[in-house]
């Protein structure tokens, strides 16, 4: 499933979609909330800092484990210093600066790639507990 993220309303659509998918897969309400909160942060980053983005939600499997993989991809200005961007409390403006760090803590896997002038890709995964 792919959701275009261009304005604030899309943030709600993206996180609701992630929550619905998580519920369908059988994640607990706490995990659904962790996932939806992380996606809310990533989608907001697209709207506030990036531009022209999408959130992609996919069911994945590894051995007998099921999981939800979510990509947040944009073609915005990119992040110059990823290490700094991940630091809690650091913001280039306006936010609390805990979105990326928080999303990382709430999910099981977190990867970020960014190229200045090209855009940013964040991949997060939550695994179901067997």
């Amino acid at each position: 499933m792919e959701i275009k993220v261009a304005c604030e309303y899309d943030i709600v659509i993206a996180r609701s979609a992630a929550k619905t998918e998580a519920k369908k897969l059988g994640f607990t309400i706490v995990d659904q909330t962790r996932i939806a909160t992380a996606i809310s942060e990533l989608a907001r980053n697209i709207v506030v800092h990036g531009s022209d983005g999408i959130v992609r939600i996919e069911e994945i499997e590894k051995g007998d484990r099921k999981g939800l993989e979510i990509w947040a991809i944009d073609r915005g200005p990119g992040i110059e210093n990823i290490e700094l961007a991940l630091k809690d409390g650091w913001t280039s403006g306006g936010g609390l600066g805990i979105g990326l760090g928080g999303a990382k803590r709430l999910m099981d896997e977190f990867e970020i790639q960014s190229e200045v002038g090209k855009g940013t890709k964040v991949r997060v995964v939550k695994w179901m507990r067997n």
Binding site: V30, R44, R105, L106
Partner: protein, 122 residues
């Protein structure tokens, strides 16, 4: 231009009560903050209760809005209590690392009012 959505603000005892029933966006949040401060001025309310039990995602955006409201209200001599955090939200907030700086919370409306009463009688 004002947006059509609005968060109703009710009077209960000498406090104001606002239940956030719809997801906040930037503009709505700013209007909400403004409406609250105007209501505080008009009603001379002593306390403010914000009910977030209808909210299923508390991200850093809404946290910032709530913390700001509590700060603004505090400048007007009004104490804020946030009520109705669902269990899954409390768990998520702690792991997330969000800080509800300077915000009082209570389980529900009743406990929130109780907190305000205790505070007032001090």
């Amino acid at each position: 231009m004002k947006s059509e959505e609005k968060i109703p603000i009710l009077r209960i005892e000498d406090a104001l009560l606002a239940s956030i029933q719809i997801p906040l966006h930037d503009k709505l949040a700013l209007e909400f903050q403004h409406d609250l401060m105007v209501s505080i001025e008009k009603t001379r309310a002593k306390g403010l209760i914000i009910d977030i039990s209808a909210i299923d995602v508390v991200d850093s955006f809404i946290t910032r809005i709530l913390v700001e409201i509590a700060r603004m209200a505090s400048l007007m001599g009004v104490k804020t209590v946030i009520v109705g955090l669902r269990p899954e939200i409390s768990i998520t907030l702690v792991e997330f690392g969000v800080q509800f700086d300077g915000i009082e919370t209570a389980l529900n409306l009743e406990k929130g009012l109780e907190k305000l009463r205790v505070w007032k009688s001090k």
